[in-house]
Amino acid sequence: MGRYVARRLLLTIPVLLGASFLIFAMVYALPGDPIRALGGDRPLSPAVIAELRERFHLNDPLYVQYWEYLKGLFQGDLGTDFRGRPVLDTIERTLPVTVKLALAAVLFEIVIGLVAGVLAGIRRNSYFDNVVLVSTTLIVSIPILVLAFFTQLLFGLKLGWFPIAGTNEGFYSYVLPGLVLASGSLAYVARLTRTSLAENLRADYVRTARAKGLPNRTVVVRHTLRNSLIPVVTFIGADIGALLGGAIVTETVFNLPGIGREVFNSIRSQEGAVVVGIVTLMVFFFIFFNLVVDVLYAVLDPRIRYD
């Protein structure tokens, strides 16, 4: 297992390099001139523009620019944006917001999605089961953007239960964006849990557990739930990485100063260094949580062995 983890971690290095290069190339290919955009309505003098272009290597070909970026990266320097602020500082400032948002989302996935899925799976074809089926279908079919505005309108403005923007009210600030961010995965977790549980309840080993005269609770919790949750746990694990990326829309709509909104703004102002830094970080999270899931999978299911 140790060797397996080490190998997987080593493999992330080429993946990250490749990902950062692709992102770098895409930012490079964006139309428009970031330096001109920097001045806004007031045009910068040609001398200043030339100076800035020189400083940020904007006149060099793509591979030279990327090489300059890598040289900095290996010294722990993610570069600066065009205003001279280090990208690392930007990440340090914005990442905690996104982490809190992702945690809130995962919490909702587990609490709401898992509980709904378990109850629906145990009482298949019941009224509750049908409610879960219909509502999850509804949720996955609404675009997240629509859902975000709708919850803002209903729970924020009409009912006034939760704030609709910013992070000033602690955990409450994260309730609506957390729910919106989690919505799709939450519905998926509920359905996955339900299906997995319903399927396992018909498994031969559950019949054996009943034949052994085990109490019903033990049959359901120990011999059905435990087995059923393996795919769910692995899904939630992999989803954490995806949530960090999916935060772009949510953070922008709810005006949360996290890495998602930062990326969104940076793409608009063509802040190449910021985009590359943050997106590469997201890629890293994604790879990392997938590794965690693979390790977890072996822990949960003794039939899976690495090496």
């Binding site: 018909r202 498994a203 031969d204 080993y205 019949r207 054996t208 557990a209 009943r210 034949a211 052994k212 005269g213 085990l214 109490p215 019903n216 033990t218 011999h223 435990r226 087995n227 393996i230 949960l300 299911d301 003794p302 039939r303």
Partner: protein, 353 residues
């Protein structure tokens, strides 16, 4: 569990003359959206201590369903026990509370299944799964239960039991897995062991070992053994009595020697003729024509009549014994032999009275 005594030795009970198990006119149906499937249609038998009853039949003959009904592990719905009774040591199981029924499973009646790989939970060690019996029924600690599991694995002759107790089911061979199932089933010295095709998934040499083990365990403990199988060879080797099932009914019953040497029901006769014999080398096998009936639409009269070579219909039939319209009851043909056929005497080759 008020007056059910599971502590008395089985032999003592046998001396009192109470059969361990009596099944009377058991009926099970599956109520599905597409209609009612009659899986078991009035099955009766009894089992005493130390006895081995083989229930023989094709897939879909109701042999496993009736066993699961006795165990109380039918999936309800869709299955419904629509009639009859199951008496375990003189008490009707069907009238007990669910909790009392549960307490019988394990120390009273216990069951092993066909496919040990899918019947064992893949995420728990075999020791844990065997030990669960002691923890659930005797309230033992995890540690004590594990020690008991090692003892049992020794008893079913799993080599290096102490070392393998923490292994998982997928780490065992097919035969060893079936031994684990057996260890689990006999953990609490059950009065009755139901073995549902215990050797079907195993290769022939391992089959023999597993059957020997079951036989030995039965001799040690005096438990009653119900052996569900479609394997005539297995029946011949280990069973005392055999009940042949067709379309959810018992069509013939008697001692294994009698039934096998001189069948009195055309279906049993057909089964015997479809088995290759070493002596009859070169001869052709005679399979039974047709397919087992659809249990949602069992033929009228004798359920076997569409496939039966001896059927008598209309004018050919004796009055009240038309195979297509009159249901043949299970009746005594000769002493010690019952069959559900209007013309058993003919099959048997004896004159009707």
């Amino acid at each position: 569990m008020t007056n059910l005594d599971l502590t008395k030795p089985t032999a003592e009970l046998a001396a009192q003359g109470t059969p361990l198990l009596e099944v009377d006119d058991l009926r099970v149906e599956f109520r599905t959206r597409s209609g009612v499937v009659n899986a078991v249609n009035g099955v009766s038998y009894s089992l005493g201590a130390g006895e081995t009853l083989a229930i023989l039949g094709e897939s879909g003959s109701g042999k496993s369903v009736s066993a699961q009904a006795i165990m109380g592990i039918l999936e309800t719905p869709p299955a419904v026990i629509s009639g009859g009774g199951i008496w375990f040591q003189g008490r009707n199981v069907l009238e007990m509370s669910a909790e009392d029924q549960r307490k019988i499973r394990g120390p009273g009646i216990s069951m092993i299944f066909q496919d040990a790989l899918s019947s064992l939970n893949p995420v728990y060690s075999v020791g844990f799964q065997i030990g669960e019996m002691f923890r659930a029924h005797r309230g033992m600690s995890k540690k004590a239960a594990r020690a008991k599991a090692v003892e049992l694995m020794d008893r079913v002759r799993i080599p290096a039991a102490a070392r393998r107790v923490d292994d998982y089911p997928h780490q065992f061979s097919g035969g060893m897995r079936q031994r684990v199932m057996i260890a689990m089933a006999i953990a609490l010295d059950p009065r009755i062991l139901i073995a549902d095709e215990p050797t079907t998934a195993l290769d022939v040499t391992v089959q023999a070992q597993v059957m020997d083990l079951l036989k030995d365990l039965q001799q040690e403990t005096g438990m009653g053994l119900i052996l569900i199988t479609h394997d005539l060879g297995v029946v011949n080797e280990v069973a005392d009595n055999v009940a042949v099932m067709y379309a959810g009914e018992i069509v013939e019953r008697g001692t294994v020697d009698d039934v096998f040497s001189r069948p009195s029901h055309p279906y049993t006769d057909g089964l015997m003729s479809s088995v290759p014999q070493v002596e009859a080398k070169g001869g052709r096998l005679r399979p039974i024509a047709g397919q087992p009936p659809n249990l949602a639409a069992i033929p009228s009269g004798c359920p076997f009549h569409p496939r039966c070579s001896r059927r008598r219909l209309g004018a050919e039939a004796a009055p009240g014994r038309d195979c297509a319209t009159d249901v043949p009851p299970l009746r005594l043909v000769v002493p010690g032999r019952e069959a559900a056929c209007h013309y058993s005497e003919e099959v048997l080759g004896v004159a009707a009275e």
